[in-house]
């Protein structure tokens, strides 16, 4: 069983080597003529004011939380989907109840207006 994961491990090592060697070689070979202006972050030609380590809208955070709820749910649904034909009606009802509870959460968030992006 575990033997089928060995090629993935080998591929992962090759892929990481490819990425790091290419980045390193390109950094080594490419010409280097740094200047004050070149090393500034590019913000459409304006001289950057302050840093970009600013606060950002809370909405991104809400979507991230919603994502975690739904993605964990999806992970639960994979074994259900594979075994669905064996589980029959009981499995179907159970999954409907499970999904409905989560969808209620989505409806609540929807009603609260958290999905609006104004």
């Amino acid at each position: 069983m575990l033997a089928s994961y060995v090629p993935i491990l080998i591929f992962a090592i090759i892929a990481i080597l490819f990425a790091s060697v290419t980045l390193f070689m390109s950094n080594l070979i490419g010409q280097k003529r740094p200047s004050e202006d070149k090393l500034m972050p590019y913000e459409c030609g304006n001289i950057p004011v302050g840093t970009a380590r600013e606060r950002f809208p809370i909405r991104f955070y809400i979507f991230a939380m919603l994502f975690i709820v739904f993605d964990v749910e999806v992970a639960f649904m994979f074994p259900w989907a594979v075994l669905f034909k064996k589980l029959g009606i009981l499995g179907f009802v159970e999954m409907v109840v499970f999904v409905l509870i989560l969808l209620l959460g989505l409806l609540y968030v929807w009603g609260k207006g958290a999905l609006e992006w104004e």
Partner: protein
């Protein structure tokens, strides 16, 4: 594992890797040519006949470009994120099959699997890897300490995770019918009828969510050139920039392969062409559709994008899953 087995795996990996890099390079040319002809231009013409050597020239140019590291950047994550965005995409190709068991036109004594390895959880592995790609984008956007890049990175992260849910949910119809997560078994089950016939809605959700996951027009807000310069890779240059693009084009190939396998019958087709050729034809039709969308649709607004994802696509995917489940129960 024996030494011969190890060498055999290495050969397969090298072949897949080389073919993938070639496809990715020429995909850039294909996209430029297709878009050019859609806009009544001719596209690249100078490097070789009809610009056939353009990708190679671009590659060499990018490799020798100055590797700029801006002063304010967080060096570690700045270098990490291009690598972090390409490695998971490459790993997807470890489980994607490219054809049935084959002896490659009688070259080999025993037929071999035309894939690097097969897991029992192929689909789960693919979605896990495609989820990892988000990190590359977020770290890239944050590490440059550039406001445009930060906004691009955040937008991208929110978009990727929103459509990741719909993307994953869209394949459940196929998994329910096939009762398996193994890609070769799913293809074998489509011998009589392609799954797109049973799952037309699933296929449309898959395609839409895939285009959003690939951050292509009409969902290319993270790199909206007209407002965010280049989004999360604004300050990247040289090979680091190229690596983001290699990752993007490799994921286009990966998504097209997955769509072909799950919905379009994989390598199955009338026997006058070899299975691998059928597979490639279908994959390139999907790639063409994705490029075509870029030539046709305008960009959405961000609120439209999030609204469409959460209020339409995700509920629709659930409806699709349960309708499929009810039909399976009734038929049985």
């Amino acid at each position: 594992m024996s030494f011969a087995g190890l060498v055999f795996i290495l050969i397969k990996i090298v072949v897949v890797f080389a073919l993938l890099m070639l496809t990715v390079a020429y995909l850039t040319l294909l996209e430029r040519k297709v878009l050019a002809h859609m806009q009544v231009r001719v596209g690249p013409m100078f490097a070789g006949p009809h610009g056939i050597l353009q990708p190679i020239a671009d590659g060499i140019k990018l490799f020798f470009k100055e590797d700029i590291v801006t002063k304010q950047a967080d060096k570690f994550f700045y270098f990490l994120s291009p690598a972090l965005s390409i490695v998971p995409v490459l790993l997807i190709f470890a489980v994607i099959p490219f054809g049935d068991k084959s002896d490659i036109f009688g070259l080999l004594k025993e037929p071999i699997d035309l894939r690097i390895t097969g897991l029992r959880i192929d689909i789960l592995f693919i979605f896990a890897m495609s989820g990892l790609a988000t990190y590359g984008v977020v770290f890239g956007g944050w590490s440059q300490n550039n406001k445009y890049a930060l906004i691009g990175g955040l937008r991208e992260a929110a978009q990727l995770i929103s459509y990741e849910v719909a993307f994953t949910l869209s394949v459940f119809g196929v998994v329910l019918i096939a009762g398996s997560l193994q890609l070769d078994k799913i293809v074998a089950m489509q011998k009589d009828m392609w799954f797109i016939v049973y799952q037309p809605v699933g296929f449309l959700i898959f395609l839409t969510a895939a285009v959003a996951e690939l951050k292509r027009t009409p969902f290319d807000l993270p790199e909206a050139e007209s407002e965010l310069v280049a989004g999360f890779h604004a300050d990247y240059s040289s090979m680091k920039f190229a690596m983001f693009f290699m990752a993007e084009y490799a994921s286009i190939v990966a998504c097209s392969c997955l769509g072909t396998i799950l919905f379009l019958g994989g390598w199955l087709g009338p026997s006058f062409l070899p299975p691998f050729v059928w597979y490639m034809i279908k994959v390139f039709i999907l790639i063409f559709v994705i490029i075509w969308l870029r030539g046709t649709y305008p960009r959405l607004r961000y609120d439209q994008l999030m609204k469409f994802g959460w209020k339409f696509l995700i509920p629709l995917s659930f409806v699709n899953i349960f309708v499929t489940a009810i039909v399976i129960l009734l038929v049985r």
